[in-house]
Subunit: 237 residues, 2 copies
């Protein structure tokens, strides 16, 4: 490659922005396609009418999307809080115990097999630049990346939206077919196709082999639903 750094920047940028969006869609849609589908299958297994299946399914989609969305919001929020509290702490330490912090920089570089005469110029250079020094400690000592401010809300809406989109698909047959056990067959077929497509696309984005990803995703849905179906039937089948 002729422009390795720009190529890498693109990669890194992807890794931290599109990557997060894709991850949120995957989190929301994986569960959205799987849980309401499995729940509906389970209730059909307990000989519940379609009306109950749809009620339970939509209640689950509402609860699941809100719970996952708000959960994602708070997770991103606390990542961000964690970063800023750690950053304040580094800033304080660099002011109050610069020598110990400098020796930490030395240790970090020594861990890469560098000799004192090789890393000392870096340590001294950072001591002259407190802001850069804090950035260095955050990224290289604590391995923390500066969080994107809009992240938490975007993450919440992405996860919730993906959950709802995924959840409606397996429930649709029950909305139009009064016999739950009949609707189940259509729901299984439609949802398995959706899981395969979703898994395939997910694979393209996440770097997993698309076909492997398609089958993994479909198998999760199948296993989860089989378990739900079996449990529901064993209770009042």
């Amino acid at each position: 490659m002729t422009h390795p750094h720009s190529a890498h920047s693109v990669h890194v940028e992807k890794h931290f922005t599109a990557g997060d969006f894709v991850r949120d869609v995957v989190i929301g849609m994986s569960d959205g396609l799987t849980v309401p589908f499995a729940l509906a299958a389970g209730l059909s297994g307990a000989a519940a009418p379609s009306s109950i299946v749809v009620t339970a399914g939509l209640a689950e989609v509402a609860a699941g999307s809100i719970a996952m969305g708000l959960g994602g919001y708070l997770a991103a929020k606390s990542d961000s809080d964690h970063y800023w509290s750690e950053r304040k702490r580094e800033e304080k330490e660099i002011e109050e115990v610069p020598d110990t912090e400098a020796s930490e920089v030395a240790e970090i570089l020594a861990d890469f097999g560098l000799e004192p005469e090789e890393y000392w110029p870096v340590v001294n250079a950072l001591r002259k630049r407190p802001e850069a020094w804090i950035d260095f400690m955050m990224r290289f000592e604590l391995g923390l990346e500066k969080p994107d401010p809009g992240r938490a809300l975007q993450s919440a809406l992405t996860i919730a939206g993906a959950y709802i989109m995924g959840g409606i698909i397996p429930l649709f047959p029950y909305m139009v077919m009064p016999q739950a056990i009949e609707a189940l067959k259509v729901s299984v077929a439609v949802t398995l196709v959706a899981l395969l497509i979703f898994g395939f696309v997910k694979g393209l984005f996440t770097g997993t082999k698309p076909l492997a990803s398609a089958f993994q995703t479909a198998i999760i849905g199948a296993v989860a639903s089989a378990a739900a179906f079996g449990i529901a039937r064993s209770i009042n089948g």
Copy 2:
């Protein structure tokens, strides 16, 4: 503090091991306490008998724990795959285009305001140590940490177990009380207490203020259940 580095090691270790376990428990139990609770509330709102609520609830717990557990397994697995494929790529680049990789190291250090004479010794030192050089690129260019091998399975079991533990709590009243609408009142009380305790403990581990965390967590459960309750009632209440 007198031993800042050891203190930091402890912190970092926490951040990467106990931190992951706690995060998995939080992921599983947040949804486990919220979604089955909200689903049960929703079905009670649709005047379903306790038997249906319990069936739907347990079907949801089975589906949710399996879906989230397997989802967590695959997420950890693909993080690990991503790390090793990126590492292979860096290894290849360091062999094939060492000069461009060396200039990337220079750029990384220059971003911290270092002068060529300050970072050049480091660049040259890394060129003499390919393994350390790869580690340096993985951590400082791509910001990727070496994944723990047992992580994926441990993550799956932790999430699923936490989901089941959380999910049983709101369903228990429906198992012992035949009138769903009566059981609902007990379920609401028991689950709100559980959410507050869980949120408080979560806050202690994640660094969020415990009381704030307790109320945030309880509010997620309340909002999700209110939505599920409203939707279920609006369909066939």
